[in-house]
Symmetry: C2
Subunit: 236 residues, 2 copies
């Protein structure tokens, strides 16, 4: 009886229409005070070398998050990277090869911590603000992820994922300004992060800067994890 019902449900599922499913990663980085996105030139002749997100189809029996991690790892060599599902894009005509559904993931990583070893298809970091045309609906996908990021970094201190292990408050502020597209008051910004009490003073200073060097800090990821539980709602 149990076997029969399991068979029946398999037969039912077999009658469903099936679609190709991909994952696309919007991988943000931060360099030279600019928000960057890791992109390649599309290898489809159809798009004539327009920029494209890093993506791949989801394998059979592969979890969706795992697929996104796989893509990230394949292209950057990194794991333990911030990654979160953002939105599904499924307009029937979004792919020139027929219907393809894609799940957009947003990832934040520290550009210095990894080297792009494989530069095929001009895999590289591109300024977010300079993006114009892209392959597929990828411009829309990137913009959606950017909006998601703008909202999230005001709720949670995600920005640290984009910075080197040790950073100055100036770099942190530049990061927030680049993502939010606003300029922030320096004193208030520093007070805010000081009051969060999630920064570790390394007792080191910036090197090789042509001005008074700033203190370097580390983000206290462990302390954040413990605090995180209590943060319900919109509070930073």
């Amino acid at each position: 009886m149990k076997k029969n019902s399991a068979q029946a449900v398999h037969h039912l599922v077999d009658t469903y229409p099936k679609v190709p499913l991909t994952v696309d990663c919007v991988i943000f980085g931060f360099e030279e005070n600019k928000l960057k996105v890791l992109l390649i030139k599309s290898d489809l002749a159809f798009f004539q070398g327009k920029l494209s997100l890093l993506g791949d189809f989801v394998k059979n029996n592969e979890d969706l998050d795992d697929a996104a991690y796989r893509i990230l790892k394949a292209r950057t060599g990194m794991n333990n990277v911030f990654l979160d599902q953002v939105k599904v894009f499924g307009k029937p005509d979004r792919h020139p090869g027929g219907r393809v559904i894609t799940i957009a993931y947003c990832s934040l990583l520290n550009i210095q911590h990894h080297a792009l070893k494989i530069h095929d298809n001009e895999l590289d970091w591109y300024d977010y603000n300079s993006l114009k045309e892209m392959a597929f609906d990828h411009l829309e996908v990137v913009q959606e992820c950017h909006g998601w990021l703008q909202k999230r970094i005001q709720e949670h201190p995600l920005g640290f994922n984009l910075l080197p292990d040790k950073f100055s408050l100036r770099e942190l502020q530049n990061l927030y300004e680049a993502i939010l597209g606003v300029s922030l008051d320096r004193r208030n910004f520093r007070k805010k992060f000081a009051s969060m009490d999630l920064l570790i003073d390394t007792n080191e200073m910036e090197q090789d800067v042509s001005h008074r060097p700033g203190k370097l800090y580390q983000f206290n990821f462990d302390k954040y994890k413990k605090k995180k539980q209590k943060w319900i709602g919109i509070d930073f």
Copy 2:
């Protein structure tokens, strides 16, 4: 040449694995001061009548949002209902009939404004707080949508979608308390909504209540739409 590249990309897509894709709607309602969810008993013998979300597979060439609207309309007869994509669920073993990906949509509707005409499979409103076991991973899906809703009603005045056209401030507060699972100060709550300036005083009063009747208000959807543009970030 262009045709060739279009053919090539079709052939490429044909090599992708394909999966069945469904949409599941978490339809919230509010009645008797309780947050409700519209559910049916699963018609899969496998689940022995456990509660299930309303869902269906996505048709060929059907946009994802359209699929969600179709399900909503089929079951409630309503359109012009609040609906938003929340998250994709794709664990390989989440469906007993083989791999099925589902996109969860969250919908808010006013229970009084519609009649459930077709009560097949015990289609009915169930208390959110009483849900225990459900078919598939639907309990997780409902909980995810509830968390999403808790966050969103603190950022945008979505709650009005769950109320009748005319409502008292007490009903509005009960709604927020039910969704957030907290109790709120009555005076502060009223001040907050008064200061939003999005309520229209109908000059009508509650009827048939066994106590002093309250004023009835309408939500100014038009004014909200105009204001909405300016609301960037987390402000209500």
